[in-house]
Point group: C2
Chain length 403, copies 2
């Protein structure tokens, strides 16, 4: 195992040359990391135009510095998740070409010619098929990483192998703790303070958030991506690949689904500010359809996969459906926590913060907080897509008479 | 670390002499294991009368032989559980005096002068306080091994450390799989076949069993004992200690509670055969009270401990109560699976099989199967002790007019 040292651009080039497939001798490297945790080099073969990504975990949080240490174990986790998910769904998982555990380095296929799904949603030209492709990815990776798809001894060993306490603790703090109290890590626009204060005093809401956090802490249903927002997904017109899997662990399926759904709904909430008028309403309508498509494809493909379940008890078909009802409810609840934490927590999204007009921005942020609360409180009674449609009607997505 | 070899009595004496506190030179050893998995020596200092237990895991299931291998990892798990539970509740956990990981050997305090709780229940002279003591034990060990009592990073590390796939797989097969299908491992009295066949065709029941199994597979709520029947509990008139913790793992709290409750109810179901007439009815009444006491003490002490919970989300008091409602329901469900698996599965109990009269025995066994089914199906709607009292009325425990 190599000895750890922080890569310079020329280290990245050396590593890419040794382990990258078909790279020549004239290589250049550029640091392209826009994330908060790692350094990421794009290494290009100037002659052939071929390129790869060299991603290295630093022993601290990059955007903060050495004062906030963070385990390099996350590189091992990320490599393991990408390999595992890549086995189940290679068409939608970024390809891992090589890894070096000692250096905490991953060599990845370069998708920088693709677009981030979040960016396409912001530009109003996201391809219609992306939601279905993500539903397909989730059905395959969550099924095959669960007790439906694995023998229990193998699955229990995987739960231990993907134990990821430090990164999970970060998620727990930013999703379930900070936004529900007045904490210095929060980033709250002054106009949102009154509404945030209401959330902090809302006992019914905090009880549901406790239940969602407890499930996140305990319920090892499947090997999750763990950070599945729309900025963790690269797309083209007819392709989709998920990347950035260092938050992976064994957790509740609804967390991955809810993170994705929550980000579609953040974009929905931002539309009146991003695209005032008719265009924004049409985009909102598309976001709702994407949420329902994502769920439908996930549900139908998971159900189909479960007909091959080898577990004598879990194979009971009526149980599979009962379980998926619970996953739907969890997904809505986790989506609600995503809406809230992205509005008043430490890490925001452009879908809201990128709205130029301060008044419109505040309106959209307030809507996101209200919708988040409604989803968390309504998750247990929001039985299906139609119920979700009705719940979202107040947010501009009701089908108009002329549709 | 010592090299593994199977202990002879003189090996056990050597080991006890080296590591046992205050033992002299004149030691004798007797094999006293009546379990199915291990060999157990009682080593006695003939002069002082002091004694210890030397328990060694064999690399196979003892009662079957070398053809059924079983990981010696279970000795490491058992030592870890006893240490952890002993820290939380030394008064009710058998003391671990020494361990040798290489030899898969544990040196334990000798409780053979005490009685097994099961035996006392069979003899009709179990002390009234035992159920409350077990409730106290469960509140302390389950609270302190859970996300209520541990920081999440520490708890996630514990989940991985106590990963126990092989022994869990045994539990899964004998609790949740075999009794619900016609399997060669089952041990079914000929007169029970019709009723067993009904269970195998009962879709509603199998759906609930799937949910209970799935929770057992996924839901890492606390460090469980994992095999908490009345034969894993030594008692005196005013003491109680739990032993045999090799099935320990991170699982749902209701499984430990349900195993204990299920065994009290197995004894209840056996009473018409064990003690026909008035005495049996009085014993049944006592079992019901013990079940309710065990739960009440567990519930109240867990609730009191949770006032010190340091987790910002889980500390919400209304959530603690909501969570305990789910634990109650799980407990009834798992108790139901214990009743069924001990009646038609591989491992039976004397509370039923020890009934001499064949007709009475069959009646009692049928009652156990029916009650098991009712508990599993009724768990989600059986809201409290009064509801359980009503459910059990049909099994002879209704308060009579003259009480």
């Amino acid at each position: 195992m190599s000895r750890y040292h922080i890569f310079s651009p020329s280290d990245a080039i050396d590593y890419a040359r040794r382990h990258g497939p078909g790279l020549g001798t004239e290589l250049s490297a550029e640091e392209v990391g826009d994330g908060n945790l790692n350094q990421v080099f794009r290494v290009v073969d100037e002659e052939s135009g071929r390129s790869v990504i060299v991603k290295q975990a630093l022993p601290y949080i990059r955007c903060v510095g050495e004062s906030w240490p963070l385990t390099r174990e996350r590189a091992r986790i990320e490599a393991g998740v990408l390999l595992q998910h890549g086995r189940c769904c290679p068409e939608h998982t970024v390809a891992l070409l090589h890894q070096d555990a000692g250096l905490s380095v991953l060599l990845l296929e370069d998708l920088s010619a693709w677009r981030l799904w979040r960016q396409a949603l912001l530009e109003g030209n996201a391809p219609a098929g992306a939601a279905a492709r993500l539903g397909h990815y989730l059905a395959r990776v969550l099924y095959h990483g669960s007790d439906f798809g694995l023998a229990s001894t193998a699955k229990r060993a995987e739960v231990a192998r993907f134990s990821n306490p430090e990164l999970c603790a970060t998620t727990e703090a930013v999703f379930f703790d900070d936004p529900y109290r007045d904490h210095q890590r929060n980033n709250i626009a002054p106009g949102l303070r009154p509404l945030a204060g209401q959330l902090w005093r809302d006992g019914a809401l905090k009880r549901r958030v406790a239940a969602l956090k407890h499930r996140f802490l305990c319920d090892a249903q499947a090997l999750l991506h763990g950070d599945l927002h729309t900025g963790s997904v690269f797309i083209t017109e007819d392709e989709l690949k998920v990347f950035d899997a260092e938050f992976g662990f064994y957790g509740p399926m609804g967390f991955d689904l809810g993170s994705a759904i929550g980000n579609l709904l953040l974009n929905l909430c931002g539309q009146p500010g991003l695209n005032p008028g008719e265009k924004g309403r049409a985009e909102q309508w598309r976001r709702l359809e994407e949420v329902l498509t994502l769920w439908r494809v996930f549900h139908d493909e998971f159900t189909a996969l479960a007909t091959g379940c080898a577990d004598p008890a879990l194979a009971e078909p009526s149980y599979v459906e009962e379980f998926l009802v619970q996953v739907w409810r969890d997904s809505l609840g986790y989506a609600g926590t995503e809406l809230i934490r992205r509005t008043i927590g430490i890490a925001h999204v452009t879908d809201l913060d990128g709205i130029d007009d301060a008044g419109l921005r505040l309106d959209c942020q307030q809507n996101a907080l209200r919708l988040g609360r409604e989803l968390i409180l309504g998750a247990e009674t929001c039985a299906d897509g139609n119920a979700l449609r009705a719940l979202l009607a107040a947010y501009g997505t009701a089908p108009r008479a002329d549709r």
